[in-house]
């Protein structure tokens, strides 16, 4: 009786673990499909990823992804497959190549240029002699308008 119980338990666990394994495999596939389809633009509704889109083409392409993931193709192979047909535009992250150099490097070039300008401006400002608040010309003008400065008063305020 006991052995029968043991056997039935063994058989049962064998079945269930089998089932669990198949399930994890499945969810891994699903996760890969999900990750891939988030990198891919739906060409029908261009501001949606393949994962978000319900366009018929998006469904077909997701089916393609599923088939290819199940067939054991790598992510790069699958993305290549799509790029060959729909062009780089299908990728949300454009590849780094001659035509996209400006796109990838441009912001850093701009940043560097801005930093250079900033440094140059700061240096020039520091090097420039500080202008006197009032030149002799200005002083003369002030005196002409306000009359000559009265020294006693100024002394008084200084003390």
């Amino acid at each position: 009786m006991r052995s029968l119980l043991l056997i039935s338990i063994l058989v049962f666990t064998a079945f269930t673990t089998n089932g669990v394994q198949a399930q994890t495999n499945d969810s891994q596939t699903e996760q890969r499909i999900r990750q891939l389809s988030e990198k891919i633009r739906c060409l029908v509704c261009q501001n949606q990823s393949l994962a978000d889109s319900n366009a018929e083409l998006a469904q077909d392409l997701r089916q393609q992804l599923r088939e290819q993931v199940t067939a054991g193709r790598s992510d790069d192979q699958i993305l290549d497959y799509l790029v060959q047909r729909y062009g780089d535009f299908v990728l949300y992250e454009p590849p780094f190549k001659a035509t996209t150099v400006l796109l990838w490097i441009g912001p850093f070039v701009l940043l560097a240029a801005a930093a250079l300008v900033l440094v140059a401006t700061l240096r020039r400002r520091r090097r420039a002699p500080e202008e006197p608040a009032l030149g002799p010309e200005d002083k003369r003008l002030v005196e002409r308008v306000l009359g000559p400065a009265s020294p006693p008063e100024r002394d008084g305020s200084a003390r």
């Binding site: 060409l43 261009q46 018929e56 083409l57 077909d60 047909r85 062009g87 780089d88």
Partner: protein
């Protein structure tokens, strides 16, 4: 004075970029297939389902492959132009009936005229994916060696036909 000219120059440059950007059509995705051999397929012919067609059958000819479907509204706009073109007999037109039902497709052709030398049936849209189809109608100009030379996304117009497709086809035939 010079320090005010700089921002102005940058502003004008920016406006220039934006003006060009606004005129571009985001739906016109450059196809990587132009200049490459047309993807192979073997599909049943719409009117003779037991017969099969491969693009190799058109080798030696310059031809148009037009992707259409009876459910596609802009195909209806384009169709009279194709019918007219087929009457002139300048360029053989073949149809790729994309994700359609056989009866619907045949009824549609009966109603609007059949400009196609033949139509092949891509019922599940698989070949469409190989051709990078994402908005029916699409039209491919394929040369004698089976290389795609031009791709039109969306309906053909008289202007596109006269300015791009036909001159290119003429040049390719030489």
């Amino acid at each position: 004075m010079k320090r005010f000219l700089w921002p102005l120059a940058i502003f004008i440059l920016l406006v220039g970029f934006l003006a060009v950007g606004l005129r571009l059509d985001p739906r016109e995705v450059p196809s990587p297939l132009v200049g490459r051999p047309a993807p192979a397929f073997e599909l049943p012919v719409l009117h003779q389902p037991d017969k099969r067609f491969v693009p190799g059958d058109m080798r030696g000819k310059v031809w148009l492959l037009n992707v259409w479907a009876s459910w596609c509204v802009s195909c209806r706009d384009e169709h009279p132009l194709l019918v007219e073109l087929s009457k002139k007999g300048i360029l053989p037109i073949l149809g790729l009936n994309y994700k359609d039902k056989g009866e619907d497709a045949q009824r549609w052709l009966k109603q609007f005229g059949d400009p196609y030398q033949l139509s092949v049936v891509d019922a599940d849209g698989r070949i469409g994916i190989d051709y990078g189809v994402y908005g029916v109608p699409e039209t491919y100009l394929i040369d004698a060696e089976g290389v795609i030379r031009y791709k039109q996304i969306g309906p053909l117009t008289m202007a596109i036909l006269e300015q791009k497709v036909l001159p290119l086809a003429k040049a390719l035939r030489k």
